[in-house]
């Protein structure tokens, strides 16, 4: 069951990250790229949590806390930077 679960979740989250990367590459404005990067970070939070759930260890839980705060700080600072750039 664990192997099947790992394969299913790895496939789903890999396609998710790939689609977010495509939007990050194509996004016409900086805001689209911020949205896509935020979603990519949420996907990474989910992937790290799913890996910890499948292998039943708790060593990466502090990484989850740091990632959850890093997404907020990153997107807010990028949006402040973009708002100052616009007239």
């Amino acid at each position: 069951m664990n192997d099947l679960l790992a394969v299913i979740i790895a496939g789903l989250l890999s396609v998710t990250a790939l689609l977010a990367l495509i939007r990050l590459y194509r996004g016409p404005s900086l805001m689209d790229r911020v949205v896509a990067a935020d979603m990519l970070l949420a996907t990474i939070v989910g992937a790290v949590g799913a890996e910890a759930a499948i292998n039943r260890h708790a060593t990466t839980l502090p990484v989850l806390v740091v990632l959850a705060l890093l997404g907020f700080v990153g997107s807010v600072s990028l949006v402040r930077f973009a708002a100052r750039e616009q007239p």
Partner: protein, 148 residues
């Protein structure tokens, strides 16, 4: 899923004596605390697996939305799903499979951070996108910032 096919009732009924097979197929129920705890962990494992797969599916649907939707505000609408419900489902699956109080506290902390920071970031991104003119006005039902 192999145990579903091996445990099919037709395999037992075809062997002749139904009474012996019935008693072999369903042993006496064990109502001890150890058996109850073992059953609970199995149920928690399966519920955790189901929530992990549901969270991953929700993230995939949101990624398709982020790739396909036409403007920034609709892409934000799609991107909110893995940020809140997808991450919460994956964290629910994580806590259902770890089953420790300290890990549960850490997981709840991550969920509270996600819930508290996602609206603030979405508000700032939406306001900046509106001010930069990245909003398709044909898709808006009401523009409450127009007269300001």
């Amino acid at each position: 899923m192999t145990h579903w096919s091996t445990g099919s009732p037709a395999a037992h009924w075809s062997t002749g004596s139904p009474a012996a097979d019935w008693s072999a197929a369903s042993p006496a129920a064990d109502w001890s605390v150890a058996a109850w705890t073992a059953g609970w962990t199995v149920v928690a494992d399966w519920l955790g697996a189901v929530s992990l797969v549901a969270g991953a599916l929700l993230s995939l649907a949101a990624a398709i939305g982020v790739l396909r939707f036409p403007d920034t505000l609709s892409r934000m609408h799609a991107a909110t799903k893995p940020q809140v419900l997808g991450v919460l489902l994956l964290l629910l699956g994580l806590s259902l499979r770890l089953r420790t109080l300290a890990d549960l506290g850490m997981v709840v902390l991550v969920g509270i951070f996600q819930l508290a920071t996602a609206p603030v970031a979405a508000q700032m991104i939406g306001r900046a996108a509106y001010r930069a003119g990245r909003v398709d006005r044909r898709l808006l039902d009401a523009d409450e910032l127009a007269e300001r």
